[in-house]
Symmetry: C2
Subunit: 159 residues, 2 copies
DNA sequence: AACCTAATTAGCAAGTCGTGCGAATAAGAA
DNA sequence: TTCTTATTCGCACGACTTGCTAATTAGGTT
């Protein structure tokens, strides 16, 4: 995603208006590597701008996605996560706390899909599933007790 | 996923009952490589057993997942897809029609995630995005016209 | 500085997907 | 056949996201 300033220019050049809500969201998303949900972003935004609506957050995120400024990440778990990082990168998910971390992956070019000659491939996504060090420690302390997870950070893991 | 007969045994040995609903779902899922949604499976089941409830379909699918007989696949697009194929494999998604196809991938062992030394990785998933030959042809005929897609097969694609 | 108008916002209704709950039903053991 | 308890089904409800629209506002025009 471009900087808030660059986005301002991009918006104007497209006949879009520069509202305080949008500017705030530009700031909050720029360089954001947390892969937040719309709700999470709404919470942050609300702190600085009480009254901003969740609807506007969704609207702006969709808008930015249409403009190619950010991507959606759907890895299960209910809510879509938003990612302003447009570099070629992939993700690791902690199955315990649900956090998503960027990860650069070497070797993706060498991946050879077999049996789909009839497809024209445009993109490849790699998702690692594991446990982060923090959760690993918690497990050591209370091996039996499942950690309390807020719905927002729960990861619905396959298999 | 095991055969309906094997599942029957597994169920009984776990004190679970063998209902006609479950048996039908075992059949419909066994060897199913369509990665159906719960709704899609419900539709198929309803054809053979009018009156079966969507609730029961969800219940049975969750049950089978708990038993490790199938996996959930979440690649965006609204509904979770179910996969009875437990072999080590990956998926290709047609961004046009939303179909998901199994694909064996060579080279996954060589994938090197960089910068997540603090994670204990358990699993790696690879998803290819592209266009299937059928959709490719449709595009040739009507390049401008977007294909009509049923909600169930729509793929919500990131980026 | 006041004005105009299209774009935007906020809020609530509604849609989709999935789960909690409880009464009625049925599997399977006795 | 009887009994116990797992299961089914239907509906309410919850989480997430979008549709709709009246009120507001950005930003160009006079
Ligand atoms: Mn990312
Ligand atoms: Mn599969
Ligand atoms: Zn964690
Ligand atoms: Zn297709």
């Amino acid at each position: 995603m471009q900087t808030p300033t660059e986005l301002a220019a991009a918006y104007r050049s497209q006949g879009r208006k520069l509202t305080p809500q949008r500017q705030l969201l530009f700031q909050l998303m720029h360089g954001n590597d947390k892969h937040p949900t719309a709700e999470a972003l709404f919470a942050e935004a609300s702190a600085q701008m009480p009254g901003i609506s969740l609807r506007t957050v969704y609207q702006t995120l969709n808008e930015l996605a249409e403009m190619g400024e950010l991507q959606f990440i759907d890895i299960g778990g209910g809510a879509t996560r938003f990612d302003p990082n447009l570099d070629d990168h992939h993700h690791v998910v902690c199955v315990d706390c649900g956090q998503i971390r960027d990860v650069h992956v070497n070797g993706t070019a060498a991946l050879k899909p077999v049996g789909i000659e009839d497809f024209t491939i445009n993109e490849v996504g790699v998702v690692f599933q594991g446990v982060c060090s923090t959760c690993e420690k918690s497990r050591a302390k209370s091996p039996k007790t499942a950690q309390a997870k807020s719905p927002a950070q729960q990861a619905k893991v396959s298999k």
